[in-house]
């Protein structure tokens, strides 16, 4: 996306500090505020560096956004640019890692699914979709009501904010056969793991690809593994998301 890979370590710390802040303790909230400040300051500098460019830099999202127009009418404001770049960092780094955690926990607990993916690698894409449906880590999301409407008896006014619990929709028995089962080759899988509408996940194609490659490469080298703990896996989260704090795995090494 146009930033120096050697800066990645800084982003990882910021993102971890940010999401741990959802826990609510004052110390965590201070770290969260500092992380947010760090990310924004990084982008302030990056934007400043790119403003002077005569042409946009190839493959560089900040550079591209500097030249972008809102509804073809006006350039983006500095606040909009910073918000977008900051959300991109927060949304891009933590989500895939969390979703991978749930995927590997599932595979650690289900040898029959590991075996199936090794024998039939063409099932990997549908397995990834089913992970997103069954273990939806962004489990809810807000949307703004665009017109007055009555929804299942509830009157909603234009401008109201509503909260959609997408993880419940993803297990709606009216929509899915065997809704509470992990069906590895499920085809008609219109889940909301990446939400829907104009604000659906911008990074979903990358996220899917990352998950598919992760599971393929992992199973090629480590076909059998298990959870390395009998303790409950602790999760952190807020009003919209959940992520395992860690996912200890173990396997036999052939000598």
């Amino acid at each position: 996306m146009g930033i120096d890979l050697s800066h990645a370590d800084r982003f990882l710390v910021w993102v971890e500090d940010f999401f741990r802040g959802f826990g609510g303790d004052p110390e965590g909230q201070q770290a969260m505020a500092d992380a947010l400040q760090g990310i924004r300051a990084y982008w302030v500098d990056a934007l400043e560096e790119r403003r002077r460019d005569a042409v946009p830099r190839e493959g560089d999202i900040a550079s591209y956004l500097l030249g972008a127009k809102y509804d073809d009418e006006r350039p983006l404001t500095d606040d909009e640019l910073l918000d977008m770049l900051t959300v991109l960092v927060l949304a891009g780094l933590d989500t895939t890692r969390a979703q991978l955690g749930y995927m590997f926990r599932h595979l650690a607990l289900h040898p029959e699914h590991r075996r199936q993916l090794i024998d039939e690698p063409e099932l990997v894409p549908s397995a990834v979709e089913e992970v997103l449906r069954f273990y939806t880590m962004i489990f809810g999301d807000g949307r703004k009501v665009t017109r007055d409407v009555e929804f299942h008896g509830a009157g909603l006014k234009k401008g109201d904010m509503v909260y959609g619990l997408v993880s419940a929709a993803n297990r709606d028995p009216r929509v899915y056969d065997r809704a509470n089962e992990f069906v590895i080759d499920r085809k008609k899988n219109n889940h909301f793991g990446f939400a829907s509408g104009p604000h659906r996940c911008l990074g979903m194609h990358l996220a899917r690809r990352e998950m598919q490659i992760a599971v393929e490469e992992w199973l090629r080298v480590i076909p059998d593994f298990r959870l390395a703990t009998h303790e409950v896996i602790m999760e952190r989260g807020g009003g919209a998301m959940t992520a395992p704090l860690d996912m200890p795995l173990e396997w036999e090494v052939a000598s």
């Binding site: 085809k187 008609k188 899988n189 219109n190 889940h191 909301f192 990446f194 829907s196 509408g197 979903m204």
Partner: protein, 67 residues
Amino acid sequence: MKVFIDPDECTGHGRCYRLAPDLLTYDDEGYVAIRGQPIDVPADQVEFAEEAEGTCPEGAISLIRED
């Protein structure tokens, strides 16, 4: 049978053309390439068209059955 992609609803999830690669293709931005006009479904693609319809989170895909 024909399949129709609503151009106002498609946001480019890409699940339909993964399930039905011989029926639906995509443009450079990830949307279904042909939107807003019915696409003929060959007999051997009916099953895939039905899967594509069922996999769209936007409800952008409809099937037109001719009897």
